[in-house]
C-alpha cells in the first residue's frame, strides 16, 4: 500500500469566487462610469455640483413652492408686493394656469359648444390609437376613417353651421385646439402633396421636374413666417375681389405648403434608397408608372423614411406656434396673450405660463419622437443583413 499513490479527484465544480469588490456591483459601476480617470472624477464632481445646485431650485420652484390654487394675482404675490406669501418667495404660479386652463385648451370657443371640440378629440384619439398600435386589426379601414372620413366629421363638428349645429367662426378658435387642427391638417395635406412633389422631382419630364425643384427649394429657402406672411397678405390680392379666405384657412394653406416641401425632400431620400432593380423589376412585369410607384416603390420607400416623416411632423407641430405672428392664437399665442392680463400680473406669471406651454409641447413632441424610434426599430428588422 502506498499511501502517497492515492490521487484525489475533485468531483464537483469549485464555486466561482465572487469578483473582486472593485470590479463588480455598485462600486465598480461607479468607478467605471464616474471616476475612471482623474479628469472624469473632476467632471463628475463638477456635474454633480451643478445638478445639486439646479435640481432643488427647479423642484422647489415648480412643485414645493408653487401656488396651485387661487382666484387672482394676490395668490402669487409676496407680502411686499401686496399678497400674502413671505418676502423672497419664488415659485410657479400654477393657479394662473389653473384659472386659464379652459382658455388654453379652447381659446374663445363658445362655452356651451365646447362639447363639440371634446367629442372631436375623443373620436380623434379613438381612431389614432389603434392606428399607432402595430398589432391592432383593420388597419386599412382605420386609416381610411382617420385620413378620409375624420376630416369631414371634424369639420362639421368644429365649424358647424348646418344640420342643427350652430356656426362657430374660426376667429373664436384658439389654444391647443388651433395647434392640433393646424398640425393635423398640415400632416394630412403635406404627406400626399409631398409624395407628388417628390415623384415630380424624380420625374423624367424636364418641365415637371423643374417646377417641382423650384417650388421645393423656394419654400425651403425662406422662413415659415414669410410663407405665412404671403398667405395672409398676398393671397387676398391674388383672388378676385369679393372672394375672401378665412384667416384660419390661409394659415392652414401656408403651413401645409411649407410642410409639403420638407416632406417631399424626406420622401425623395426614401425613393433614392430603393435599389434600381426594384424599378426595373416592376417595369419588366409590365406595370404602369402609377402601379409601379403605388405597389412596388412607395411602400418600400415610405417604410424607410418613417423616422424622417415623423421628424417633419414634429417640426411642423413646433412651427404651428408661428401663427401667433399673424395674430392667431394657438396654444403659445393664447398663453402669451393671457400673460398681459392685469388680474394675474405677477413676477412669476410669465415663467409659469411659458413653462406650462413648454411642457405641453414637449409631451407631444417627445411622444412622437419616441414613437418614431419604436417604429424604426420594429421596421428595421427586415432590412438587416
Amino acid at each position: 500500500m502506498q499511501e502517497h499513490d492515492m490521487t484525489w479527484v475533485r468531483t464537483e465544480m469549485a464555486l466561482a469566487e465572487p469578483p473582486p469588490r472593485t470590479e463588480a456591483g455598485l462600486v465598480a459601476w461607479i468607478r467605471k462610469n464616474l471616476f475612471a480617470t482623474p479628469l472624469d472624477s473632476l467632471l463628475t464632481v463638477f456635474c454633480a455640483l451643478v445638478v445639486a445646485w439646479i435640481l432643488p431650485q427647479i423642484l422647489g420652484w415648480s412643485i414645493f413652492n408653487a401656488v396651485w390654487t387661487g382666484t387672482d394675482r394676490t395668490a402669487c404675490l409676496t407680502v411686499d408686493q401686496g399678497g400674502s406669501l413671505p418676502v423672497g418667495w419664488s415659485g410657479a404660479c400654477w393657479a394662473f394656469v389653473n384659472a386659464k386652463f379652459s382658455q388654453f385648451m379652447f381659446g374663445r370657443y363658445p362655452i356651451e359648444e365646447r362639447w363639440r371640440v371634446i367629442l372631436t378629440a375623443v373620436i380623434f384619439v379613438a381612431l389614432l390609437a389603434p392606428l399607432l398600435i402595430p398589432r391592432a386589426p383593420y388597419k386599412r379601414l382605420n386609416a381610411i376613417l382617420f385620413f378620409a372620413v375624420f376630416p369631414f366629421v371634424a369639420f362639421y363638428l368644429l365649424v358647424g353651421g348646418f344640420f342643427g349645429l350652430p356656426y362657430v367662426e374660426t376667429a373664436l378658435w384658439g389654444g391647443l385646439l388651433v395647434t392640433l387642427v393646424l398640425s393635423y391638417v398640415g400632416i394630412v395635406v403635406s404627406l400626399p402633396l409631398g409624395i407628388v412633389l417628390a415623384l415630380g422631382r424624380r420625374s423624367k419630364m424636364p418641365i415637371i421636374k423643374l417646377l417641382c425643384v423650384i417650388f421645393i427649394e423656394a419654400v425651403r429657402g425662406v422662413p415659415l413666417v414669410t410663407v405665412l406672411f404671403m398667405a395672409s397678405f398676398m393671397l387676398p390680392l391674388f383672388v378676385p375681389p369679393g372672394m375672401t379666405f378665412d384667416k384660419f384657412l390661409r394659415a392652414l394653406i401656408g403651413v401645409a405648403l411649407f410642410a409639403s416641401a420638407y416632406m417631399a425632400e424626406v420622401i425623395r431620400g426614401g425613393l433614392q434608397a430603393i435599389p434600381k432593380g426594384q424599378y426595373e423589376g416592376a417595369d419588366s412585369l409590365g406595370l404602369g408608372y402609377w402601379q409601379k410607384m403605388g405597389l412596388i416603390v412607395m411602400p418600400q420607400a415610405l417604410k424607410l423614411v418613417i423616422p424622417g416623416i415623423v421628424n417633419t411632423f414634429i417640426g411642423m407641430f413646433k412651427d404651428t406656434t408661428l401663427v401667433l405672428i399673424i395674430s392667431m392664437f394657438d396654444l403659445l399665442g393664447i398663453v402669451k396673450q393671457n400673460l398681459s392680463d392685469a388680474n394675474w400680473a405677477t413676477p412669476q406669471t410669465a415663467k409659469s405660463g411659458l413653462v406650462f406651454a413648454a411642457i405641453v409641447f414637449w409631451l407631444f413632441c417627445f411622444g412622437m419622437s419616441r414613437y418614431s424610434i419604436y417604429m424604426e426599430r420594429r421596421l428595421d428588422t427586415g432590412h438587416r443583413r
Binding site: 367662426e169 387676398p236 383672388v239 375681389p241 372672394m243 395674430s327
Partner: protein
C-alpha cells in the same frame, strides 16, 4: 392623372365663377346677412375689446353695430375680425372686412397710397406719453425724456410722430419697437422702457390693464393730431355714403336729443327736423335714396344710442376710462363733432 387635371380644371372654373361676384358692397352684405367689421386684435378697452363673455364692446365696435342696424335694422348682424396694425389695411383692401373700425388715424397717405376712404372722425385724439411715476419721480413733461427708452408699436403713425418729435426737440431716445400692442404693453409693464407712447385714449385704456394703474401717469404733451375714424375701400361710393351717414346720423341724433330710451316717442315729435331724421315725414325718400329703409336712423339709435351715449358708455366719465368729451363734444358744446344736416 386625368382625374387630377379634371379636378384642377374644375377648381379653376369655380374660381372664375366666384370672380363674377358683384363689386357692390351693400348687395354683398345684404346677401351674406351681416356686416364684417375689422376691430383691434389686441383689445383696446373702451374702443374694441372682448368682455368676459367674449362679446366685443367699445366705441369702434358700437359704430359697426350702428352700421349693421342701418342696413338690417338689427345691430347684432355684425361679425368682428380682430386685426393687428399690420394686417388691417390688407384686410380691408382684399374685402375680408367691409369696414375698418380700429382706432385708425386718418392721413392723406392712407387716403391716397393705401386706397382707403375715411368716413369721418369718431374720436379726435392726439399722441401722448405715459411713464411710471413711481419709478421716475420728477418727470412731468415729455421734454424731460431725453435718453429714455420708449416703447412703441411698429407700423403706426405713432412711430413716425415719435421720431419727428424727438428730432424736432433735439432729444435722444432709444425706440423699443413691437409689432403688436400687447407685446409693447408687456414690455412696458416689465420695465423694458421708461415711457410708452400711443394715442392718449389708448394710453388711458392700456393703463387700466396694468398691474398698478395708479403708478402710471399720462404726460400732458400732445405731440400730434390723431383723428381716428372708420374707413372703407375706395371705389364704392354707395357703401361709403352709408358708413359716412351712419356716423352723421349718430351726431344728429345727439344734437336733437334722440336717445335709445326716447326714440319711439320721438317718432311722434312735431319737430320737422326730427321727423326728417327718424323718417316719419310723409313721402320721405332719405333712407331709400341711401339704399336703406326710411327708419334707418331710428334703427341705429335703437341699437346703439346716439353718439353721446356711445361715448359715455364706452370711454366717457361713466366708464372705467373716464375720458371727458373735450374735442369730441358736439359743436354746439364747444367740441368738433359736427353732423351735416339730414335733409
Amino acid at each position: 392623372m386625368k382625374h387630377i387635371i379634371t379636378g384642377i380644371l374644375g377648381a379653376a372654373a369655380l374660381g372664375f365663377a366666384a370672380s363674377a361676384a358683384s363689386a357692390d358692397t351693400l348687395d354683398d352684405i345684404k346677401a351674406k346677412g351681416f356686416v364684417q367689421c375689422g376691430v383691434n386684435a389686441a383689445g383696446l378697452a373702451g374702443f374694441s375689446a372682448p368682455d368676459d363673455k367674449g362679446e366685443w364692446t367699445g366705441l369702434d365696435v358700437d359704430f359697426c353695430r350702428a352700421v349693421a342696424a342701418a342696413v338690417f335694422g338689427d345691430g347684432t348682424k355684425v361679425r368682428f375680425t380682430p386685426l393687428t396694425a399690420k394686417d388691417r389695411f390688407t384686410a380691408l383692401q382684399s374685402g375680408e372686412v367691409d369696414i375698418l373700425s380700429r382706432n385708425t388715424t386718418w392721413t392723406i397717405n392712407r387716403d391716397t397710397a393705401l386706397g382707403l376712404n375715411f368716413a369721418g372722425i369718431t374720436y379726435y385724439d392726439g399722441q401722448g406719453f405715459m411713464i411710471n411715476a413711481a419709478k421716475l419721480p420728477g418727470v412731468n413733461s415729455a421734454l424731460q425724456l431725453s435718453g429714455a427708452s420708449v416703447c412703441v408699436q411698429s407700423g403706426t403713425t405713432t412711430e413716425l410722430n415719435l421720431a419727428d418729435y424727438f428730432k424736432a426737440n433735439n432729444l435722444e431716445y432709444s425706440p423699443v419697437v413691437f409689432e403688436k400692442q400687447e407685446e409693447a404693453d408687456a414690455a412696458y409693464e416689465a420695465g423694458r422702457c421708461d415711457a410708452y407712447t400711443t394715442d392718449q385714449s389708448g394710453l388711458y385704456s392700456i393703463r387700466l390693464k396694468l398691474a398698478s394703474p395708479a403708478d402710471h401717469v399720462v404726460l400732458p404733451e400732445i405731440i400730434s393730431k390723431e383723428p381716428l375714424g372708420p374707413s372703407v375701400r375706395q371705389g364704392d361710393d354707395k357703401w361709403f355714403d352709408i358708413v359716412k351717414w351712419t356716423y352723421y346720423a349718430l351726431l344728429n341724433a345727439e344734437e336733437f336729443g334722440i336717445t335709445q330710451a326716447n326714440v319711439e316717442e320721438m317718432k311722434n315729435s312735431p319737430n320737422p327736423e326730427i321727423k326728417r331724421i327718424l323718417g316719419t315725414e310723409a313721402d320721405t325718400k332719405i333712407g331709400t335714396d341711401l339704399g336703406l329703409t326710411n327708419e334707418w336712423v331710428a334703427n341705429i339709435v335703437k341699437a346703439t344710442g346716439n353718439y353721446g351715449e356711445i361715448f359715455e358708455r364706452n370711454v366717457g366719465t361713466g366708464s372705467p376710462l373716464k375720458i371727458s368729451r373735450g374735442l369730441n363734444a358736439l359743436w354746439t358744446k364747444g367740441g368738433l363733432q359736427y353732423g351735416p344736416p339730414i335733409r
